[in-house]
């Protein structure tokens, strides 16, 4: 449950209270008019008749944090954002739990919304993170992003 500076990884599921805390921390920023939030939740996908019960996330942490800095700088250069926060789970996250949290804030809504959208796409595509889909019968399959 610890998170170091610039570390986006969170051990296990991301609690809804973390989202509330992140929002509350921005009440003292009078220049903000809009927040955009994306949450990824583990879906009980059915694959060849087997149902996903959890995803176990692993990462190449060093490379991921370097890549995240690169993405962060590019997004701040492109959009007039006040803030940006990203959390991704490491380890096992069960169906119905949150594994991914992107949060952007800006004066006007378009910047926050577009930046959030682009962050989600870039993180899914460019971050060295892997999901192992665990089925109810204790077999597994490696997740493929489409």
């Amino acid at each position: 449950m610890t998170k170091q500076k610039n570390d986006i990884f969170f051990q296990g599921p991301i609690p809804a209270t973390l989202v509330a805390e992140a929002i509350s921390k921005h009440h003292n920023k009078p220049e903000i008019g809009a927040h955009s939030i994306f949450l990824g939740q583990i879906r009980a996908d059915q694959i060849d008749g087997k149902i996903v019960k959890a995803i176990d996330y692993t990462t190449n942490r060093e490379l991921a944090l370097l890549k995240m800095e690169e993405i962060r700088e590019a997004i701040f250069d492109k959009y007039p954002l006040a803030c940006m926060h990203v959390y991704h789970s490491e380890g096992e996250v069960r169906v119905g739990e949150i594994c991914f949290f992107v949060f952007t804030s800006s004066a006007h809504r378009r910047a926050a919304m577009d930046a959030c959208d682009e962050l989600v796409e870039r993180i899914k595509k460019e971050m060295p993170i892997w999901g192992k889909e665990l089925f109810e019968d204790d077999t597994h399959q490696w997740k493929i992003n489409r």
């Binding site: 490379l63 594994c99 989600v120 060295p128 892997w130 997740k143 992003n145």
Partner: protein, 75 residues
């Protein structure tokens, strides 16, 4: 050159998570691994040497750290 190899994602079902191996460059490294693990041949892989993704073959320095990574599936 002796290099350290780290594997990720589905590759950890085939290879150890970390091991040392001797190879002159990335091409030789992949050839050696594919010879011993036929499943590797048809895999699409990303390779990072010392945390830099490489697009073409790279000659190793002693103690380089090589990450072998399948396509990402975060989010």
């Amino acid at each position: 050159m002796k290099v350290q190899v780290k594997t990720f994602g589905s590759l950890t079902d085939i290879l150890a998570k970390e091991f040392y191996i001797t190879a002159n460059d990335t091409t030789e490294l992949l050839a050696t691994l594919s010879r011993d693990h036929a499943e590797l041949a048809q895999r699409s892989l990303l390779i990072a040497v010392n945390n830099t993704i490489i697009k073409t073959a790279v000659t190793f320095q002693e103690n380089d750290i090589v990450a072998l990574m399948p396509p990402y599936s975060g989010g």
